[in-house]
Structure formats: C-alpha cells, structure tokens
Symmetry: C2
Subunit: 198 residues, 2 copies
C-alpha cells in the first residue's frame, strides 16, 4: 500500500507558524518569512527536499492551511497559491463547511471534506492511484494525524530560529516513537527524515 | 577567547526531561531512560558526540542538574555521578545556597556559585585555562544562558520520541537565530551542531 508522508517546516523551538495568522500574516505575526527563506533564497541547495514537498499522488490539508479565518470562506477564496497551485494533484481540504470542488490549472483540484480526516485519507488514497499521500499541514492537522497513527514518514525542515509562540508541532502528541532515517544541514535549514514506528 | 558551548539531549518535541523530576526519577516521570539510550546502548556509533559532552576546560550546571529537590541539599549529597564524575575538570554549580566546594576523584571539583550565571561564567573561564567552557544543563540554565547571549555553540542530540510534558528547551528564548554547522543521524539520535548568531 502507498505510504502516508508529511513534510513541514518548523522553527527550532517547534513552531510551524507564529501567533495570529491572518490574510496579512499567513504564517503568523513576527515570522516575516524567516521560516521559509530556505525555499525561496536557496532553492538549488535544497532542491531535493523542495521537490519532495510536492511529490505525492494526492494531498491532505487542514482548513487553516487553505485559507485564513475561522469560519466559512468567501466562495471566491481559492487558496493562497494563485491559478496554478504547486500540488498538481488532488488536494483534500478538511473543513466543517461544505463547498463545491475547485479545479485549478496544472492538475490541482481542491475537494472539501466535511466528515473527518479518516474519510479524507480514504479519498486521497483512492485518488493517488498507488502513489503516496502527503499531509501538508498545518500543525493541528499534522498533530491529529500523528496522534491517530496515520503517518508513515515524517520530514522536518528545521529552521535555526526560535519564535517563542505560535502553532506548535507535536502539541498533544505524546509518546510517539520514530526512527531517524536521514539528516543533512544546509545554510538555512536542517532536513530530517523519520519513519514513524507504530 | 575560548568558546562557550552547550550540549544537551532533547526529545523531538523539545523536552530535556519529563515532569516531576525526583531522586527516583532524575529525568522526570515517563522518560524511563528513553532520552539517553543513545549514550548507553550505542556508545560506539555515537562516540564523537559522547566525547564532546565532557571535553571542556570547565563546566557550568544548574542546581536542578546537580541534585533533586528545590531547597538546599543535604551536605552528604555529592551529585548523581558517584566518586568519579565524568567531567574531570572544575564544575560550577548555580545555587542560592552557599556550600563548601567538593573535590571528587578524577579531577572533578564542584564549586557552588550563589551570585549568578555571569559570575559562574567568569570563574569558569578563569578555571578553563583557555579551553572551552561548557554549559551542561538543565533546561532552565541553558535557556537563561541562551537568552543572555552567553552561548557560542549549541549541540543538540535530538531523540526521536515525544514526551508531551516536562522541562522545555528554548522556553522564553524567542528571537534566537543560529547557523546550522552539522547534522548526522544514528539509529537512536540525530546530532545537530549550531553556531549561535549574536
């Protein structure tokens, strides 16, 4: 069976975003791009890991990653990524608000799933056609999946800054055991790959 | 001038010890040796990093690392390490309770410093004779030193388990920036080395 993977950028003190995420500050206050400089400023030296972020047959993301705010989105909201999002595959978005699927350019579709992560995973597996399913975030969705034992491979991109506050990875995920598979540092980030041990 | 280093073992979710540390559970409840298996079960493959933990001209530790409890220690308490502690150099212990220095076997001395970490650092630098000074823990002492900008090199030994609670590294240390120098994984731990950028 295909694997369920997860890749996420995290500060050294464990935050995937700062506090008070909004349309103006999608990664939270005080972050100012510091978490994702490694992708945008040094794409060549981090090419393998950047490719891995978007290489799956289907993706799952939380509502907090698809758009800002706590309620239903305006029907015109189509995500942060413009007409041609970087996924190029079916993306299943967890939400409490039913919505018609979106078909974007480049092969990305957004399907809104209102009956939970297990349902999203079943739909993503079916859509992935034997390829991996990737959980892309945010922290709440990843933590929920880790706690439920749904993730096989975890890739952390650890950025050498501390934020002090925000959305914390592993919150509520106690007693997890993993196996380190690989680690390498570039100037702006350390890439770590783990197998999750059930 | 010699460098100030710090090496600490930490869970993947950022804890250096579990909650409720005591004489019976020096690393806190629920840890059960999981944080330090890499040293005791696989000393050969982690030899370089184990050597680095005790290679300094002098050491500084917090009161919580020297002994259990919150108050003054019984005068018979001489640390966790027996007659011949692994430091083999002067160790300066931060405490609020004055106490006569201890001379142990193998070159380790414990000197109790009651006037703060800057004083301990000055004494340690003088005692180190040009060699590095190493901050050995616990979390509160390391966090205090990081926040005060006293540490030049930080070595993290990241153990692939989550604890969910305990003594958290980087608590109160926001807005720190580091440079990754090296990273390597063995079966039970990932070793990461950083230079702290002032």
């Amino acid at each position: 069976m295909s694997a369920v993977t997860c890749g996420i950028t995290v500060s050294l003190d464990g935050f995937v975003a700062g506090p008070n995420q909004s349309l103006e500050n999608p990664f939270g206050e005080g972050v100012d791009g510091r978490l994702h400089r490694w992708m945008f400023e040094q794409p060549e030296v981090n090419a393998v890991e950047i490719d891995a972020l978007s290489s799956a047959g289907a993706f799952i993301m939380g509502r907090n990653m698809f758009g800002p705010g706590r309620g239903a989105w305006d029907e015109t909201w189509q995500g942060w990524w413009g007409d041609n999002p970087p996924y190029h595959a079916p993306v299943f978005v967890l939400t409490h608000h039913p919505r018609t699927s979106l078909t974007m350019h480049g092969g990305t579709t957004f399907t809104f799933v209102t009956d939970g992560v297990e349902s999203a995973l079943a739909q993503a597996r079916a859509a992935a056609g034997g390829e991996n399913v990737c959980i892309v975030g945010g922290a709440a969705t990843i933590n929920q999946c880790l706690a439920a034992g749904l993730i096989d491979e975890l890739r952390l991109h650890i950025v050498p800054v501390t934020l002090g506050a925000g959305e914390r990875l592993f919150e509520g995920v106690d007693d997890l055991t993993l196996e380190p598979l690989d680690a390498r540092s570039t100037e702006l980030v350390t890439h770590m790959k783990y197998r999750v041990i059930r």
